[in-house]
Amino acid sequence: MSSHDLLIGLAGVLFAAAPVVFATIGETLTERAGVINLSVNGTILLAAMSSFAVAVSTQSIVLGFAMGMLIGAAVALLVAYSSIALKQSQVAVGFVLTLMARDLAYFLGNPYMGRQGPRVQHLPIPVLSKIPVVGPLFFNHDLLTYFSFVLIGLAWWWVFRTRPGLTLQAIGERPAAAYARGAAVNKLRYLYTALGGALVGLAGPTYSLSVKAGWKGTISGLDGIGWIALALTIFGGWDPVRGAAGAYLFALLQWLGLVLQPYLPNVPSQVLQVAPFPLMILTLLLVNIGNAEWVERTLAGLPPDARRAISKVLRWMQVVPPASLGVPFEEE
């Protein structure tokens, strides 16, 4: 592979990762507030189909994107409402919604299958895109990819460097304490669930109007992405930057699956296409193993040098969820 091909391939990875970045950061914000929205996989499919349908019917890309984000926010609000107001299990409601939204997408999307539709315009940034290496990698995309770069920094800054971000962390960790200090815990949880849901919804049109333009029903290749985004949220330790890094790793693995195909004639191409999925989810083992009790016990029996080295590596990978993740809060 020439260096030119490699550059184009890597630029493609950054482009293809944009929707996964949106969904992962959306879910990260929602879970930081203490709500698990498990509906991501179905939401992405339904948002992808609906925004494509809207864009085809109205010939407006903007309306298409608005539709996708609206659907994401609406589904997420349903999860938040059934959890906060109706005291139902977030996992149960989210899970039903993920399956139902998927079937809704396939059912209502039937007439739009394989149709030609508008797609987001390619928009190289003048001057910057001419810089060698950096230009083609970062400044030769469409608006969505640029937004995905900006969003990573923005979300990180919001969560870790602003006062409202501090409140966001507090309502996910210790809602009672935050409430006592005047934070409207449940109102904020609704807000962040809707915001996170809208970002998850944004992933839909980013696929159907850009990355994988069109709607092809069950063979659209989008089924499973949402579960990856949920896994990346954990992998990222609820940190937008680390979560996004996971999204790029996933896109890289998918690309490698395509590139390596000619060199691995004995492995059927179908296997290489699904291989990144289990790999990404099994990375969860790496980031969680440090929490296990038996690991601590085993480590205690090792010589001090080895113990220190291993626990250093484990601690570096280890993630700890927001303390009140998935726990409803009663405002009294």
Partner: protein
Amino acid sequence: MITSRWTQSLLFVLLAILVALLFTSAVLLMAGASPVAAYWYILKGAFGSWTKIADVAVAWVPLLLATSGLLMTFAAGLWNIGIEGQIVLGAIFTTWVLRVLQHSTLSPAVILFLAIAAGAIGGALWATLAGVLKVYGGVNEIFGGLGLDFVAVALILWLIFGPWKRPGIGSMSGTEPFPQQLWLPTLGQSRLSLWALLLGLVSIGMVYFLLSGTYFGLKLKAVGKNPRAAYLLGIPTTRYLMSAFLLSGLFAGLAGAVQVTAVYHRLIPAISSGYGWLGLMVSMLINFQPAWAAPVTLFFAALNIGSIQLPIVLKLDSSLSGVLQGALVLSFLLMSGVRQRWAHRHPQEAEHE
């Protein structure tokens, strides 16, 4: 209010069904179809002839087996999303034993028995892996299970397109079919095997007995309700969680074994047919109570079979059954929340119940 608790429950159930039907009808109208016609064709497609009724029973068995397994893990408070993969592994193990033994001198009945037992072991093995990831690796069982689902899909595709491919070229239509003496005998001309049906009914019966009539079930439910308290009371939590996974995988593996020996007579990529996911929906709908599993799985199987002909007669996608099933479960969850809220706000009326 003078209504008894029983009539009140019935009222909420009917209301939940009505809401689900209204939602699905609205979806149908959006697709430009007549809801009445759609429901009529689903009914006809499920019960219109003896062949169709037999087909419903054919779909009922794996769904019943998957639900049986899921009720065990749910009792322990676990979301066994890995069930799809466990069904797949059951089917793979069954196919493997059939392939090895099909030219042996053993009688077909023995071969079939061994193959189905192998399926159960395959499912249990895969479930145990999810259990190890959860209990010893700290990986939430939803994601560990999903990961193993994806691995199972990769594995079955590799087998069908690789080592087990048909003479010539591998294809999505699956492996070479087994000779007819290795099919579970079916009833008359239908595709229904009474052996499979019996297996399904015995399984759910066993789960009912285990969960409501034994100390094992009682302790398992204690672990599910509050693992910390159960541990402090001297229940070996780890062992109980692992047993729940193992039993769940056993039933799921049987579902895969039935799909191979009684329905498809070969390994196909979509061997699990989504029955694991559907079993999760059923379990939520019946609020994890085994007594309701048989009728509700039968109803869901009827919806699946009934919607198969929708693309032909009404040019609608057959995923409508999934929309209706999802709407039912969601509506039940929301309604029970509404009901609790109502009881909370009207305590004096709730006392009369």
